[in-house]
């Protein structure tokens, strides 16, 4: 029996209004002040603030409600239950594998806790290029402070695990500094299983913070319920049309729910939010919807060491380097941020390349394997325009993100940087995640080998865990789907409060950027709807 109290089960026992899936069919019609699509980073912050203003709130989540007593640290359970498309969401040409959450709490339930304020250089670019005059460090600071306090975001004081230490050791020998990553945790047991749902409730995701606060104030939560479209009457959003869905996303039996609301907040995340607006035939006079969707494309490097590394064990991503984001201008050759991700069996088997004996040899080295990743900062150079969301015939979204030479040049430089750091740290072998790469035994061999690799999509293994953009915020309707206050440029009664707002990639793990921006926008929305000033607990 799990001795750790489950705050979600306790809340359900206290009478939280949760319906959908195993919690009973929702009513066929609901009326409320604000309907929120999604239950992730932007939705949770919005739900807490709006309910604090006394508004009646309904939150609609297409994934299931799972909590600490369900989280057994098993990929086989986590990927189908908690992730979009069973953790197998891919871009249209299949070249990029996307990890995105799909459950109550959204991606915050399955992310690796890394918390960075929006970089100053990113905010500067948004002011300069997207008419966002109020997106300054000074203007955003109080919002970051508020959410950092609310979500226990602070420095991780325990010793980084070996997987992270090796990043710092190798980088230091090359004169490259690595710093500590802030994490949204309280009483963390240092397990390393964040990506499968935190079994101890230490991770301060939306699931255990803002959503319980909203539900305790009487907000309603519909789960395993997908918003098919927003009802739009002329120039005004009127509510949501929702249908029950099974765990694999297929339409389930049941009549569905029609929600009528004074205001709709779309917070389903990038890819999903633009797709919803497309299904709803929302006005899009400048063809911006779904365009400029960014991914921080990730390439990986696996190294073997004499000592055990055990990359599955210990808090993930506790050290990072931004050195390669600062070598060139933000709108120059694509830069990249280095981190050390957690690795578990399934994800490791998908990262190593090859099959048969080649793969078996790499897998046997798992306990001695060091994993490094590079997040490419896309969206700032004219040749980095990201991807475009489209709808399949069944209404489901698909992202078409062609990996062009500009981005793949950055991928090559990132593979070189990671190999050099890993050899500097004492690696026996380094194998970039590329179909034509074999384990290199020296930095000289790696440098020559990587320089000769054809950096093509599908030969290079590329992932993404950060989906951004597609409903850009901007100071003019020619550049933005929404205004600087989060309201839609053309439609009344409609806001977007999630990562799809970002006009470029963030250049850092995005959760804190979403929290800070959503806090600012939702506080403004609460004020405009009720006249009240609210803040997070």
């Amino acid at each position: 029996m799990n001795a750790i109290p489950d705050p979600i089960r306790a809340g359900l026992a206290r009478g939280w209004k949760v319906s959908g899936g195993p919690h009973g069919a929702p009513p066929e019609a609901i009326t409320c002040d604000v309907a929120i699509v999604g239950s992730g980073a932007g939705a949770g912050i919005t739900a807490e603030l709006l309910s604090a203003a006394g508004l009646s709130v309904v939150i609609v989540e297409e994934g299931p409600l799972r909590s600490s007593s369900d989280f057994k640290q098993l990929e086989s359970e986590a990927y189908p239950a908690l992730y979009q498309e069973s953790a197998s969401r891919r871009t249209a040409d299949k070249a990029i594998g996307i990890l995105q959450g799909r459950c109550v709490g959204g991606s915050t339930t399955v992310n690796w806790t890394s918390s960075f304020r929006t970089p100053s250089s990113t905010l500067q670019y948004w002011r300069d290029h997207f008419g966002l005059a109020d997106m300054s460090d000074e203007a955003m600071a109080p919002w970051f402070q508020q959410v950092e306090q609310r979500l226990s975001i602070g420095p991780w004081l325990a010793l980084p695990n070996e997987n992270n230490q090796l990043l710092r050791t190798g980088a230091a020998r090359l004169g490259i500094p690595a710093a500590a990553i802030m994490r949204n945790v309280k009483g963390c047991h240092n397990l390393g299983s964040c990506g499968m749902g935190c079994p101890t409730n230490a991770k301060q995701s939306m699931l255990v913070t803002t959503l319980p606060a909203a539900l305790d104030r009487g907000a309603r939560l519909l789960v395993q319920t997908r918003v098919q479209r927003i009802r739009i009457d002329g120039q005004r959003a009127q509510g949501l049309e929702c249908v029950p869905v099974a765990l694999n996303g297929a339409r389930a039996a049941g009549p569905g729910t029609s929600i009528t609301a004074r205001h709709v907040v779309v917070a389903g995340g990038a890819i999903n939010s633009p797709a919803l607006l497309m299904r709803s035939r929302a006005a899009d006079p400048h063809g911006l919807l779904g365009a400029r969707t960014f991914l921080h494309p990730v390439v990986l490097s696996a190294a073997t060491f004499h000592q055990r590394v055990e990359g599955w064990s210990g808090a993930p991503q506790t050290l990072y380097s931004d050195h390669f984001l600062e070598v060139d201008a933000i709108d120059g050759p694509i830069g990249y941020k280095l981190e050390a991700p957690p690795v578990h069996p399934i994800i490791f088997s998908l990262t190593v390349t090859g099959f048969g004996a080649e793969q078996a040899a790499a897998l046997r080295q798992f306990p001695h394997t060091h994993a490094l990743l590079a997040l490419l900062r896309d969206g700032f150079h004219p040749l980095s325009v990201g991807g475009k969301v489209g709808l399949r015939s069944d209404g489901s979204p698909e992202l078409d993100y062609p990996l062009n030479d500009f981005v793949m040049d950055g991928a090559r430089r990132a593979l070189l940087s990671m190999a050099e750091i890993q050899f500097a740290a004492g690696a026996r072998t380094v194998t970039p995640s590329h179909e034509l790469a074999s384990p290199y035994a020296t930095w000289a061999e790696a440098r020559a080998g990587i320089a000769a690799l054809p950096m093509k999509p599908l030969l290079t293994r590329v992932f993404s865990a950060h989906v951004m953009g597609g409903c850009a915020m901007a100071g003019s309707p020619e550049q933005g789907v929404v205004r600087p206050d989060g309201n839609h440029w053309q439609l009344q009664g409609l806001s977007v409060h999630d990562g799809s707002l970002f006009p470029t990639s963030v250049g850092a793990n995005p959760q804190l950027s979403v929290y800070g921006l959503a806090a600012r926008l939702a506080t403004g929305l609460a004020k405009s709807l009720t006249g009240q000033d609210v803040r997070l607990a």
Binding site: S86, N248, P345, I346, R364, P367, R392, S396
Partner: protein, 166 residues
């Protein structure tokens, strides 16, 4: 098969399209109701013998393979409808002799192919210049690995001890 994918096929695609147009019997679907048919299982069994060579247990590999194929079913069942449809089209194509030959070049039928013949075929897909062949390689390999290593009984070969004590 999606139109965009067909357009990337070039010569191979033209031939596949004309086969389908001529109504050549692709009557052995690879998936039915989201589960592998016997024909689909033959495809994934041959692929598993090749991809998992070196990790399949030496003692009773047949039982390990059956367990793996059941997990492939569960993996596919967890996919959303659009992904199931796409994978189903691919497996149906692979399960048919003309599709298998055109897409992969594998001469013998799946149950008759040796592990090394399937491995040579997979390597050809892996480094092909045709996007559809690269995509086929990744689909077959990734589904195989994700399904196989979902089971805790497969972890000892990787030296993974399982979930952390809470």
């Amino acid at each position: 098969m999606k139109r965009r994918t067909l357009l990337q096929l070039g010569v191979v695609g033209g031939t596949l399209v004309s086969l389908a147009g001529a109504g050549l019997a692709l009557t052995r679907p690879g998936l039915r109701d989201g589960r592998l048919t016997p024909a689909g299982r033959e495809v994934f069994a041959a692929v598993a013998r090749a991809v998992l060579h070196g990790v399949l247990p030496a003692a009773d590999p047949a039982a390990a393979l059956q367990g793996h194929l059941d997990r492939v079913d569960a993996t596919i069942a967890s996919f959303p409808p659009a992904m199931q449809a796409e994978l189903g089209q691919l497996v149906t194509l692979l399960a048919s002799p003309p599709g298998r030959l055109l897409l992969t070049g594998l001469q013998p039928d799946w149950p008759d192919a040796s592990t090394s013949q399937v491995q040579v075929m997979l390597q050809g897909l892996r480094v092909s210049s045709l996007p559809l062949r690269l995509q086929t390689f990744h689909a077959l390999r990734d589904v195989t690995n994700a399904a196989y290593f979902a089971d805790s009984g497969t972890w000892s070969v990787m030296g993974y001890p399982g979930p952390r004590a809470v």
